[in-house]
């Protein structure tokens, strides 16, 4: 099948691209290094597991690093957005700054949601946008499954209120200091079951017709009754 092959080619090309541009903290990166030579073979092999393309120089990732000099930020270029991974405990240090800093001006919370990475814990994703400057960024943080707590950002963006309630419903992530963290989309008593977690697979589709179907078909079953 030629089309499947081309798909494979694309995938390997993507991998190659990723390997050539290893992840690096934005604070360590000068604009001159943006077009640095690809690393040697053994280097790329070493970093293959978590090789991520760097964000464009002078972009939102650099502005974030500038505004938040003493916070650990791990920025890389995603397929469509710049993604910044942060520590969970830093959330309330970061969020008020990114909203109010005039260089960033990320006043619009597009969306907030959770992702279940199974063994690698849960993740909370904040999609931020600046209507004035037109730039956007995705901020992420990881939480361990047995201690799924993170500070609520409702005091920064009111929009987070319902998003956080929904995320609690679906993933069981507790948002500390949320003003009203009760079930939103799910029934009020459904507080111990988190449907969007990966350990809640969809039920099998029942095939009731199987071996209970009489030999002669439906007509026969109706007659017997």
């Amino acid at each position: 099948m030629p089309d499947e092959e081309s798909q494979l080619d694309e995938a390997s090309a993507e991998e190659q691209k990723g390997a050539e541009t290893p992840a690096e903290k934005p604070s360590e990166k000068a604009p001159a290094e943006a077009s640095a030579d690809p690393p040697t073979a053994d280097q790329s092999e070493e970093e293959e597991a978590d090789a991520k393309p760097r964000p464009p120089a002078g972009g939102i990732a650099d502005l974030l690093a500038e505004a938040l000099p003493d916070v650990k930020l791990e920025a890389y270029q995603g397929m469509t957005d710049v993604i910044v991974e942060v520590e969970r405990d830093d959330i309330m240090k970061i969020m008020p700054v990114v909203k109010d800093d005039p260089r960033l001006d990320l006043k619009f919370l597009r969306c907030l949601f959770g992702v279940d990475h199974e063994d690698e814990g849960l993740e909370v994703v904040y999609q931020l946008l600046s209507l004035e400057k037109g730039h956007d960024v995705v901020i992420k943080t990881r939480l361990p499954k047995d201690d799924a707590h993170v500070a609520s950002v409702t005091s920064v963006w009111k929009a987070a209120n319902w998003h956080e309630r929904e995320t609690r419903d679906m993933f069981g992530i507790m948002f500390d200091d949320h003003p009203h963290l009760v079930p939103l989309l799910l029934p009020e008593d459904m507080t111990d079951h988190f449907p969007l977690r990966k350990d809640n697979p969809l039920a099998e589709i029942e095939e009731w017709q199987g071996d209970e179907l009489p030999e002669e078909g439906f007509g026969g079953a109706a007659k017997r009754r």
Binding site: D3, E14, T80, V125, K158, W162, L186
Partner: protein
């Protein structure tokens, strides 16, 4: 000497919904009222929650298109567009020129039908009863007929595919739309004449449910709700996607952020959509509707993408987390109605009970979009 009796005033809880004609679907809100004033609102949603996100995780990229029609069921083409754009970004598919044009034409017509629905229902919320609804639906029906002719469906189109379209449009596609546009324009004028200058509408809507520009941004409002507050933000202009940079049209912006401005913005937006459709029909090229090399199974790389469209209710976005394979690992829908509705309490408290209905109507919610 008569002792003055100590009378107690009690706040009353009034339950509205889930089955109530003015809640536009299965939505319940508990109003706490002091006389005729609303002092608190507690919205209850989730009656229509079907787990579209979870179901999408268990289906391959083509199969999950159907859920997009069923979220915001008044803007199906726009939702399909957002979903297909997200998958196309993930798989790096190039969409043929003709497909882009057909998508834009259908999406803008869809925006017009959605706004007709709003204008008709809005009149009912304000007590017009039949007139505005008849005006709105008469014209909406003509456009609906075109959709039926093109897709074979009246509501759940399922017409867009990652990379292209399910099939090409019928031969009389351009002529059909050219015939319908004057009617649509006339319908908008009729509603304009009926409502804009009407004193009762003005009394019921001006200054009601106003939200400042700053609050609107903080609450994450989008679409006409945000623009009514005076913020000129439209994804079609500010983050151009598809081929929207090729057309000449204006973005209407309000100034007060009240119910009346939201109505005006939607009315004008529908007119601008007619302009876009006219230009797109003039430019519609011939050619294929699917990319030449289309993989039989859609397999995404390990990546994350976000794609959003400016729907009639606001930014409708799809965030896909892919870990390889033919299914999304996580698919998140950013529902515009959900975000807009979350600000209901701030807009309603302090107003009269009767205005609560007008405010809820002005948000133009679709409950299937809120609950997914």
């Amino acid at each position: 000497m008569v002792q003055e009796q100590q009378l107690e005033t009690v706040d009353i809880n009034v339950n509205m919904g889930p089955q109530h004609p003015s809640t536009h679907g299965v939505f319940r809100m508990v109003l706490t009222i002091d006389g005729e004033r609303v002092v608190d609102v507690e919205p209850h949603i989730g009656y229509m929650h079907r787990g579209a996100e979870k179901l999408s995780e268990n289906m391959d990229y083509r199969a999950a298109i159907g859920f997009q029609d069923r979220t915001d069921y008044l803007a199906q083409f726009l939702n399909e567009q957002a979903y297909c754009m997200a998958v196309e970004k993930l798989l790096e598919l190039a969409v043929p020129e003709r497909t882009e044009y057909i998508r834009v034409i259908l999406c803008e017509l869809n925006r017009i039908t959605s706004h007709f629905m709003f204008l008709g229902a809005f009149g009912i919320d304000l007590g017009y009863f039949g007139t505005s609804f008849t005006y709105g639906f008469r014209e909406r029906e003509r456009i609906q007929d075109i959709f039926e002719e093109v897709t074979g469906e009246r509501m759940m189109y399922g017409y867009f595919r990652p990379g292209g379209l399910a099939w090409d449009v019928p031969d009389n596609f351009v002529q059909m739309i050219r015939d319908v546009l004057p009617h649509a324009r006339q319908g908008l004028n009729d509603l304009d004449v009926l409502m804009t200058q009407n004193e009762i509408v003005a009394a019921r809507t001006k200054g009601i449910g106003a939200m400042s520009a700053e609050d609107s941004v903080n609450w994450g409002l989008s679409g006409p709700m945000l623009r009514a507050a005076g913020i000129d933000w439209d994804l079609r202009k500010d983050k151009p996607y598809s081929i929207y940079d090729r057309f000449d049209y204006d973005i209407p912006v309000g100034s007060h952020g009240d119910v009346f401005d939201r109505y005006l913005v939607r009315l004008e937006e529908a007119r601008q959509s007619i302009r876009i459709v006219e230009q797109a029909l003039d430019q519609l090229p011939d050619g294929p509707i699917m990319p030449e090399k289309m993989p039989r199974r859609l397999r995404g790389p390990e990546a994350e993408v976000y794609a959003a469209v400016e729907g009639p209710r606001g930014e409708y976005g799809i965030y896909i987390v892919s870990k390889g394979g033919d299914k999304p690992y996580r698919l998140k829908i950013r529902p515009p109605s959900f975000c807009n509705l979350s600000a209901l309490r701030d807009m309603t408290v302090g107003n009269y009970v009767a205005d609560a209905v007008a405010i809820l109507g002005s948000i133009d919610i679709v409950l299937c979009d809120v609950d997914r």
